[in-house]
């Protein structure tokens, strides 16, 4: 899927994984559907009421800092969101999003040009994000090693393929 079009939700800098997926749920909530319902609970309680399939997060610097908890990435995957875009990502969070098979893009200077509810179009092949005014922001492609995991639909499928190739 190279073109992703969706409504955006905007967040600031340093949004941490505790507010994306509270620690108190990390060992009690394990069902994907239920996990999805807690997404951004302590940052933006309205998010879960408004979000729909294909929507896109656009955030500031250091998105997903803090705990390594993978649920903070997978909750967006389970909501079938279109992409997570940020000025920069916390490193473990970036990996978790890729491993979830969730399009994860570092795009600079776009956050302040869009408003909640705007529709943006992302072309992952061309490396562009276009906002409703027509302004285009470009971003570099994922390194091939990382793109391979995305292309497989996440780390689970990627390793599964690797294991079955080895056996076969």
């Amino acid at each position: 899927m190279s073109v992703i079009k969706g409504r955006v939700f905007i967040y600031g800098d340093d949004v941490n994984t505790d507010v994306i997926f509270p620690g108190k749920y990390t060992y009690t909530v394990t069902d994907p559907k239920e996990m999805a319902l807690h997404a951004l609970e302590d940052e933006d309680p309205a998010f879960i009421k408004e979000v729909s399939k294909g929507d896109i997060i656009i955030a500031g610097k250091n998105f997903g800092c803090g705990s390594s908890r993978e649920q903070a990435a997978f909750c967006f995957k389970y909501l079938e969101m279109g992409a997570v875009v940020a000025e920069s990502f916390s490193r473990i969070y970036f990996r978790n999003c890729i491993n979830a098979g969730l399009p994860t893009l570092e795009v600079r200077n776009v956050k302040d040009k869009v408003r909640r509810g705007d529709v943006v179009t992302i072309d992952t092949e061309k490396g562009t994000l276009t906002i409703s005014s027509g302004e285009v922001f470009s971003f570099p492609p994922l390194p091939p090693e990382v793109a391979g995991i995305m292309d497989a639909g996440g780390l689970n499928n990627y390793i599964k393929k690797k294991i079955s190739e080895k056996k076969g």
Binding site: N16, G23, I92, K160
Partner: protein, 418 residues
């Protein structure tokens, strides 16, 4: 051009000349997991994993919800114990041994030159002994169980040079929180931090562990202190043979993306205010903040040295009647040592509650959960909203001295007031 610590350890591990920015597939010496091993096991099986690629790579330490707070947590632990038995994993530590990051040090996994990943963000801790260690996600831990390997980018490096002689009661926690305030939560994003300078050299291993434990709070991939005689002596006392590790040092002409200089003589007693670690303030400005709970412990400041600091202030005194004091040793060994030194007696006589070693209140899963509007002064490493289980409670991060002083006064207080 010389190599940084990170470039050097990646180059040695892969047996080729590597520089920052290169992506490689690497087989870590150890992959640490904890209570999340139950979920990781589920992913491992979905991936088609049957047996561990290398069972000597796996270290599992139960610490997050110990003893189990509910049936679900208990069932998780049970699942992990069964897997450990079935796969004959030798490096398994059950409930009560301690917080994984302290146990990794005490049990001799964290050694100079070792390459360690863990499905916990504070895996950065072992850099204080000269290891390369970093946090990864759960699925990645499952991937390593299945294939032995993980992709990693050789990080750029950043030098934090700390000089000066600290004033009385000033600790490495104050210094780290001060640095967080200065460079912010993304100040070292994706980078390998090398802590150096006369102050770092003067610190005990326990105090250095605070710096590397919290390196991740600056966004870093890992933290590092050059292993020296203090580290070697610690390992020798634990009967760890010098032949079992290989200290690695950066070259003098290594390239750094950034160098930051700090003089501890300018660092005040520092507190990270809600709701972020980089919201650092001088403790003197916060003395009107009423404190309902104090948490002394965790993988950041739950070592014997930290307990000695707190006990120095608490001995023979009672904490404020409106304040609760929770004492959380980072390991069973520290618990015993604190008992032998009479520190637990000091804490209980002062009105404190001794908790079992583990992560407990730090992540809000059980033990010491706060009520709306309450304030905790904590020696842990995170104060995010909701972190301790209540999203309308407030967490202030501080040193063991400031925590103990605050418990006595019932408000934020500095050790020089006691």
């Amino acid at each position: 051009m010389g190599k940084s610590f990170a470039e050097k350890i990646f180059s040695m591990k892969l047996g080729k000349d590597l520089t920052a920015g290169t992506i490689v597939s690497v087989k870590p010496d150890y992959v640490l997991t904890h209570d999340n091993a139950a979920a990781i096991l589920g992913t491992f099986q979905k991936m088609g994993g049957e047996n561990l690629y290398d069972k000597n790579q796996a270290v599992i330490i139960l610490d997050h919800i110990v003893p189990a707070a509910n049936e679900k947590a208990a069932a998780n632990h049970q699942k992990i114990r069964m897997f450990v038995a079935e796969q004959e994993i030798e490096s398994f530590y059950d409930c009560g041994r301690g917080v994984c990051h302290q146990v990794m040090v005490e049990e001799g996994f964290a050694l100079p030159g070792k390459f360690i990943v863990g499905s916990d963000s504070h895996t950065t801790t072992y850099g204080a002994l000269g290891a390369f260690s970093t946090g990864i996600g759960r699925s990645e831990a499952a991937g390593i169980w299945a294939t032995g390997e993980i992709w990693l980018k050789v990080p750029e490096s950043m030098k934090i040079v700390i000089s000066g002689k600290p004033s009385k009661y000033l600790t490495s926690k104050d210094v780290l929180l001060y640095i967080a305030g200065r460079i912010k939560a993304d100040g070292a994003l994706y980078k390998s931090i090398e802590f150096s300078g006369e102050y770092v050299e003067s610190l005990s291993l326990a105090d250095r562990l605070v710096l590397t434990n919290m390196a991740v709070e600056l966004g870093a991939k890992n933290g590092y202190c050059a292993p020296d005689e203090k580290v070697f002596k610690y390992l020798e006392e634990r009967n760890i043979n010098a032949g079992s590790y290989n200290p690695i040092y950066p070259d003098p002409d290594a390239e750094y993306a950034e160098t930051i200089e700090i003089n501890v003589e300018n660092v005040p007693f520092t507190i990270a205010c809600p709701d972020s670690v980089d919201n650092a303030k001088n403790a003197d400005e916060l003395k009107n903040v009423r404190v309902h709970q104090v948490l002394l412990g965790t993988c950041t400041n739950g070592r014997i040295e930290d307990f000695r600091m707190a006990a120095e202030l608490l001995k023979g005194k009672k904490i404020n009647k409106n304040t609760r004091l929770l004492v959380l040793p980072a390991s069973s060994e520290i618990y015993l040592q604190a008992m032998e030194e009479g520190l637990l007696k000091v804490f209980v006589e002062a009105g404190g509650i001794i908790l079992n070693p583990g992560c407990g209140p730090c992540l809000g899963a059980h033990e010491g959960v706060m009520a709306p509007g309450e304030v905790t002064v904590s020696t842990a490493n995170r104060n995010f909203r909701g972190r301790m289980g209540c999203n309308t409670a407030y967490i202030y991060l501080a040193s063991p001295y400031v925590a103990a002083a605050s418990a006595l006064k019932g408000r934020i207080a500095t050790p020089d007031e006691i």
